[in-house]
């Protein structure tokens, strides 16, 4: 293992340990409620970037994957009383299948048409779920949490820790992809798909792989959300805000490096949590819109790009 890799895994272990110790030390429940949402968005943004950042296929269907994750949990819970790990695994499997279907779409559509198609998918799935009586239809469904298991005293703390594990998983996968031939291939097809295909990059296989991994992770992140809210309805589970927030976080952080989406997600979702508490949820959508426009216009490479530019300037100054 290289030194970088060792440092990364130590960091990941320290992060999980800190999350676990936090559940033991902090008595107040609010940090877990808010922290869960922040972690959820970190995982979403990182998972989104595998397709949207590395491969350059801008997916507006985050809400579709997230919502399917939520509803596969709801269904499994209602039909079989399945435990949380099984819900997450099942959601990941369904997400992988959806990702595969999305990957096939990329055969026919690129650029903005792909993006529009993903919005279309979201609304179609949402409408289908709205008309599915068994899982509550348009009115939504109440969910009973099972009793909490051993090391945790509280179900929200358990969910908080589960989401932290998902974050580590998503980041590890994203980091692995970036450093392997998959990442280089995706980058090549992002820059010029035709040229990549001509030089022997297996573009279709790579695109399908990116779609499947990204889709599975997005769905898996959505799965615990049903338990978190103790309620699910199609309008909020498939809300377009998830798509735009996730995209905004990835773009604000920068998609050139795996750490970009993490920075963006922490920055934006923490701000949003603070604003929701202190002012109102409308203002937090406004901030989302403003930040998105500002960064897309002013810093197209995101915070990562800004840092790199600053460093570059300093180096030039020294030389």
């Amino acid at each position: 293992m290289k030194r970088n890799a060792i440092a990364f895994w130590i960091g990941a272990a320290a992060f999980l340990a800190a999350a676990f110790i936090m559940t033991k030390m902090v008595g107040n429940q609010y940090p877990f409620f808010a922290g869960y949402v922040v972690l959820q968005f970190i995982a979403l943004a990182v998972a989104w970037s595998i397709l949207g950042g590395y491969a350059g296929y801008v997916n507006f269907g985050t809400s579709a994957f997230f919502g399917v994750g939520v509803y596969s949990s709801v269904f499994l819970l209602k039909a079989f009383g399945a435990p949380l790990p099984l819900q997450i695994l099942a959601a990941a499997a369904i997400g992988a299948l959806m990702g595969f279907a999305l990957g096939l779409l990329t055969l026919r559509m690129q650029g903005i048409f792909f993006s529009i198609a993903t919005i279309a998918l979201t609304i179609i799935i949402e409408t289908a779920v709205t008309n599915w009586r068994y899982v509550g239809g348009a009115a939504g469904i109440q969910i009973q949490r099972p009793p909490v298991t051993a090391p945790f005293d509280n179900y929200v703390q358990l969910l908080f820790f589960v989401q932290a594990v998902l974050v580590v998983l998503a980041v590890a996968i994203s980091r692995y992809i970036q450093n392997s031939w998959i990442g280089r291939g995706l980058q090549a097809l992002r820059d010029d798909e035709l040229a990549a295909e001509c030089t022997g990059v297996p573009t279709l296989r790579l695109k399908l792989l990116a779609c499947v991994i990204s889709g599975a992770l997005l769905c898996a992140v959505g799965a615990p959300s049903a338990m978190y809210l103790q309620f699910a309805n199609p309008e909020s589970a498939f809300n377009l805000n998830y798509s735009v927030s996730t995209l905004a976080m990835a773009l604000i952080g920068g998609t050139a490096h795996w750490s970009g989406p993490i920075i963006g997600a922490i920055l934006l979702s923490t701000t949003q949590q603070l604003l929701t508490v202190t002012i109102s949820s409308e203002v937090n959508v406004l901030v989302l819109g403003l930040m998105l426009v500002l960064f897309v216009v002013g810093a197209p490479e995101g915070i990562i790009g800004l840092i790199r530019r600053l460093r570059g300037n300093r180096k030039e100054g020294e030389a």
Binding site: F113, I123, M291
Partner: protein, 290 residues
């Protein structure tokens, strides 16, 4: 059978209305390739403009729509300038960042409307709203007829403008070959800016129709992303008469599904058709490109 006939008639009228609200996008996305997902947000904004004028001065919504048209024209000029300076000028992946940009703009407009007017539905008052015309067993609301007439007039005017006037022809030329236009000594950016202004100006009247046909709320734009893009893509980017035909197809399809399966399936119709068109025939039914 009567039910089906009813559905088709209402569908045609509804379709014409969809055509009217999609015409602007047919110019901005169809001809100019601007990924204008904020188009429906601009539309809802226009509706609120009409609402203010109608409520404060009691002016007919259609006249109010005409009144805000010049304002929207200028707004469109400014919006394109910003888009051009930040995306098209820089070149690479303008489409992808552009769509993120316009989503941001749409969210900002939504929230500003919510902060100003709240989340309640708003409607306008006029002679023809709330009454309907009886033919036999069928009842056709007058507001749908108004929408139908205005939509037809708008389509004809815009088609004539694009085919008969000098500027209109320049707009179609810039859509076909921007470089050629530059070689002829014209400034393609000016032409595109003008075209985007026209596309946004049309929204003044379209916004009036939107609030005439049904009450408006701040997040209504999300439903219209599917409808307008479905119409424009199905029409085959940039064809005005094609836009009207595609819109009528969508209107009839929505209306039939509404009668047969109920309102809860309606939102998916436009998106399903959009997806179908993109997958099977990306150049649309009356495409400008082969």
């Amino acid at each position: 059978m009567d039910l089906l006939l009813d559905a088709v008639v209402i569908g045609v009228l509804l379709g014409c209305f969809y055509g009217a609200v999609s015409l602007g996008l047919s110019v901005s996305f169809g001809l100019l390739d601007v990924p204008h997902v904020a188009h429906p947000a601009f539309l809802v904004l226009a509706s609120y403009g009409v609402f203010i004028i109608n409520e404060h001065y009691g002016i007919d919504p259609l006249v109010a729509g005409l009144l805000i048209t010049p304002l929207f024209f200028v707004f469109g000029l400014a919006a394109y300038r910003l888009y051009y300076e930040t995306f098209e000028k820089r070149g690479s992946d303008a489409g992808v960042r552009g769509i993120a940009f316009f989503f941001g703009v749409a969210f900002i407009i939504e929230v500003l409307i919510i902060m100003q007017f709240g989340v309640d539905q708003r409607s306008v008052t006029a002679e023809y709203i709330g009454k309907s015309w009886r033919i036999g067993d069928m009842r056709i609301p007058y507001r749908m007829l108004v929408a139908f007439a205005v939509a037809a007039a708008l389509t004809i005017l815009l088609t004539l403008y694009l085919s008969k006037t000098f500027m209109g022809r320049a707009i179609r030329a810039v859509a076909q070959d921007q470089e050629a236009l530059r070689l002829m000594g014209a400034n393609p950016i000016k032409v595109k800016q003008w075209a985007f202004g026209i596309a946004t100006a049309v929204l003044g009247v379209a916004g009036a129709l939107l609030i005439i046909v049904a009450p408006v709320d701040p997040t209504l734009d999300r439903a219209y992303i599917g409808r307008t893009f479905c119409v424009v893509v199905m029409a085959g980017l940039g064809s005005m008469s094609g836009t009207l035909v595609a819109a009528i197809i969508l209107g009839v399809a929505e209306s039939i599904v509404l009668t047969m399966f109920g309102a809860s399936w309606a939102p998916a119709i436009s998106f399903a058709m959009l997806l179908g068109v993109l997958a099977v025939r990306p150049q649309g039914l009356f495409g400008r490109r082969s």
